[in-house]
Subunit: 213 residues, 2 copies
């Protein structure tokens, strides 16, 4: 092997080194998180592939990382994976039947509408059961966290409103045996996306007001 | 330069190539998004560093990427950056004064409680103004998207509930000149974190029920 060919090999090796590192991912974590928010979509058609217990737990961990008014954490979850059973439950008030029939699992995000605490006007007083004014807001943030985790994990899901519709809530609440003060807030059907659903561009600058409406 | 030293140089170049690419970030986009969800925290102390118009727009774009019941997109936003003015507005019902006094900007997430559409029982009928049953849920998802974008951008924010507290909503609504049907839902104070605030671990497996409560 001549010195010239060795020099050529050396040059080639350095070019490989350079190119392979130029090709390394350059996207910032900020952009990855933002892209995930912009890519989140309502997925309504799924393949037959199941979701794993580990995937479900990761989604629940993401849900429980939501902010909570006064840190009350009023949320709870019912996970349904027996499709025959959940199609029976939701057929009573059949909303999104077609979607549920394809989904691999359903997470019912629930929230306790009450909290036991000292009265605001008497912080040192005896705790009493009262309405939690932000139970619904916490449950909304929980549901959004789950949907964003779903997107990041390559899964798909759709948020189906349960609260405030009594024709939807009542059969779910009775079938799942929820306590009196616990509301079935949202029904998240999930699975592996069939690829038919795309995110919407909802950016409307006219919805932004600076300083005053 | 001898053949031996050229071979040594070639070997060295290849080792540099290998090591520099082994050192490239190996964290998946899934883990980056999940870590951001778990890192999101309520930030209540800020430095004096301002936020840029570009940062504000990115946060509003993230907010408007939220899911929306029936795709009504009832949200709108009032951005406040004149601190004297917003401290005056919020002093009327002073909630989180100390936090607002440190923040670089405030985003008031608003939502229209009404929608003009054909009646559900007559989809082809004349559109009429009716209550939007999911305006509050959409606004919750919008607020969470903004908080997650804030975390990803290295900023900090705290979600302050405005709705459903009339003592908080009324002065904000009148000061900002919101239309009658538009509610000031949440007040998001943001800025560059002073570093005092940490995320909470809220994972409680006992809050998960499988199949039934």
């Amino acid at each position: 092997m001549s010195r010239k060919s060795l020099l050529a090999a050396l040059a080639a090796a350095l070019m490989v080194a350079a190119s392979s590192c130029v090709n390394a991912p350059e996207v910032s974590t900020e952009q990855i998180v933002l892209d995930n928010i912009f890519s989140r979509k309502s997925v309504r058609s799924f393949t037959d592939e199941p979701v794993t217990p580990q995937q479900i737990e990761t989604l629940l961990r993401a849900g429980m990382a939501a902010p909570s008014g006064s840190n009350i954490q009023p949320w709870s979850f019912v996970v349904l994976q027996d499709k025959d059973r959940y199609l029976e439950i939701f057929s009573e008030n059949n909303f999104n039947q077609r979607v549920f029939a394809q989904s691999a699992a359903i997470i019912v995000v629930c929230s306790d509408t009450t909290v036991v605490r000292a009265p605001r006007n008497d912080p040192q007083g005896t705790p009493v059961k009262m309405v939690n004014g932000t139970w619904r807001d916490d449950a909304g943030a929980v549901t959004e966290n789950i949907l964003l985790a779903v997107e990041a994990m390559g899964l798909g899901a759709v948020w189906t409103a349960c609260y405030p519709y009594h024709d939807r809530m009542d059969p779910v609440k009775s079938s799942l045996g929820l306590p009196a003060e616990v509301v079935p807030y949202s029904v998240v059907a999930l699975g592996h996306p069939a690829g038919d659903d795309q995110p919407k561009d909802k950016w409307k600058p006219e919805k932004v007001h600076y300083g005053k409406w």
